[in-house]
């Protein structure tokens, strides 16, 4: 780095601000975040879903990014515990893997369907924007 930074005495600045707050008698009492309950708001949010293209795009992206499911999660432990887990894994894989594969196929299908829907919504948005523009132009012409 060729240039050097200007020294800023942050503590001094903060002391000055503290003094100013005290002098002006500003009150720092306020509702604590801990005392807030967001449950009602969360319920309301879940009830009043409004369409938002950005949100839709984001969630379709998330569906894609999370569409692949692994058939087991590695859990670390002691040697004996690991051996035990390995044996259980080997014994159950014939049962679990087909289910997980089926789920992954289902996830991919859902992802494809959502992508199609998203593409359709975007196309329709463009069509509507064009029609609105045309309508406004025609309105201007008739005036």
């Amino acid at each position: 780095m060729t240039e050097t930074m200007q020294p800023i005495d942050v503590e001094k600045i903060m002391e000055e601000i503290r003094a100013e707050i005290k002098a002006k008698g500003y009150d720092n009492t306020m509702l604590s975040f801990r005392d807030v309950d967001g449950t009602e708001k969360l319920n309301r949010m879940q009830m009043e879903v409004k369409f938002n293209l950005n949100e839709l795009e984001y969630h379709v992206q998330q569906v894609n990014l999370r569409s692949h499911v692994e058939w087991y999660h590695q859990v670390e432990g002691g040697k004996l515990a690991n051996l035990f887990k390995k044996v259980i894994r080997k014994l159950t894989r014939f049962m679990i893997i087909p289910v997980v594969e089926e789920q992954n196929a289902q996830n991919e299908a859902v992802f494809d369907a959502l992508n199609q829907l998203l593409a359709y919504v975007k196309e329709q948005e463009d069509v509507i924007t064009d029609l609105q523009r045309q309508l406004e132009e025609e309105k201007k012409e008739t005036k």
Partner: protein
């Protein structure tokens, strides 16, 4: 010799993915055969950016894997099995405690990530951490191999794109614009920004606005609590943008008068660098990697008292000399994150590692 990069998810525009792509470009410039492999690939990325991990070619003992770790995934365990040289690029994992009150799933994912990072402690040959903070994290987890610090590579050229005119038009009016960008997440402590804003609006600028830019997907209950907090405080002009387009994010940086960060866990914190780029003075709480990323620039505070933070915002708005000094310092600090500089550092580190092996 092939040098390949592996990560669980490569998506469009996020910091780790941008870093991976920039490192790939650096490897190509160095003349290496290289590719990116991921389990999940964002379809919006240009075709061929990455391939699925299952299509990874066989690797020899001289080949090198650069493994990006930032979350809980089975890959954290699988990567240890490759008989190659292995470099961990550590982007940090948020401590699960932050998420426990809001999302069990998110907390479990973080715990799984931390377990994976610990599991790899004796299985890596070399590590690159985004920050000193992340380096210390690795050392505490018991990593014995050499660990160097390499800042995340940021695609500054993207910031030159045009900002959303709609957003600029809407908010380019009187009043201070306070900004924080980053997903709505409890480790980022957006409630502290809201509390500071409450005092700022009450005592200093009634026309001020607060923009909390970032997606709340997966964190709905925390987001609902933040909204309830805003409503119960009765504070106006707090805007949660949710997930927005890139040109809109740019517009908020263009509008911002102050960037206020009260986050309590960041492995690097790209938005700080973004604020430096857009010449927005930063006020940030000294925690995790924040101080390291600011590197002496910005206004790094050790007290989170919201009234004091409001006073600090006011000081930056009224004290031109201080504001200019902070902006000058941020401009100097920004140079440390220039792509050419970070890429050169990466080349040095990689060459050193390969020569040492």
């Amino acid at each position: 010799m092939k040098i390949i990069q592996i990560l669980t998810t490569i998506s469009f525009g996020d910091a780790v993915s941008n870093d991976t792509i920039a490192l790939r470009d650096a490897l190509l410039q160095m003349g290496y055969e290289t590719a990116i492999y991921a389990e999940n690939i964002d379809p919006r990325l240009p075709k061929g950016t990455a391939k699925k991990v299952k299509y990874m070619p066989p690797l020899g003992k001289d080949d090198v894997i650069l493994y990006h770790l930032s979350t809980g995934t089975e890959l954290n365990y699988k990567v240890a099995k490759y008989q190659t040289k292995k470099i961990l690029v550590y982007h940090s994992v948020t401590p699960p405690e932050f998420f426990l009150p809001y999302s069990q799933a998110a907390a479990q994912l973080c715990q799984y990530g931390l377990d994976g990072a610990k599991y790899l402690a004796d299985k890596m040959d070399y590590c690159l951490a985004d920050s000193e903070f992340n380096k210390n994290d690795l050392l505490e987890m018991g990593y014995q191999c050499p660990v160097d610090v390499l800042p995340i590579l940021i695609a500054f050229e993207d910031y030159k794109k045009a900002p959303s005119r709609k957003v600029l038009r809407k908010y380019r009016t009187e009043g201070t614009n306070i900004l924080f960008t980053g997903r709505i997440a409890p480790n980022k402590r957006q409630e502290d920004v809201i509390a500071a804003f409450y005092h700022y609006k009450k005592y200093y600028d009634p026309k001020a606005r607060l923009f909390l830019v970032g997606s709340y997907a997966g964190m709905e209950s925390y987001y609902a609590k933040l909204w309830s907090y805003v409503e119960e405080l009765g504070v106006q002009d707090v805007y949660f943008t949710g997930h927005i387009k890139f040109d809109e994010i740019l517009a908020y940086y263009h509008l911002a008068d102050v960037f206020l960060c009260t986050s309590e866990h960041e492995g690097f914190c790209v938005p700080l660098v973004e604020a430096m780029y857009f010449q927005v003075p930063v006020i940030a709480y000294d925690c995790a990697a924040i101080g390291g990323t600011l590197g002496g620039s910005g206004l790094l505070v050790s007290d989170k008292d919201p009234l004091l933070l409001a006073g600090a915002v006011n000081r930056l708005r009224t004290d031109d000399e201080l504001r200019n000094a902070i902006l000058e310092n941020q401009k100097i600090r920004l140079q440390s994150f220039e792509q050419s500089r970070v890429k050169a550092q990466f080349v040095d580190y990689l060459t050193g590692f390969l020569k040492g092996k």
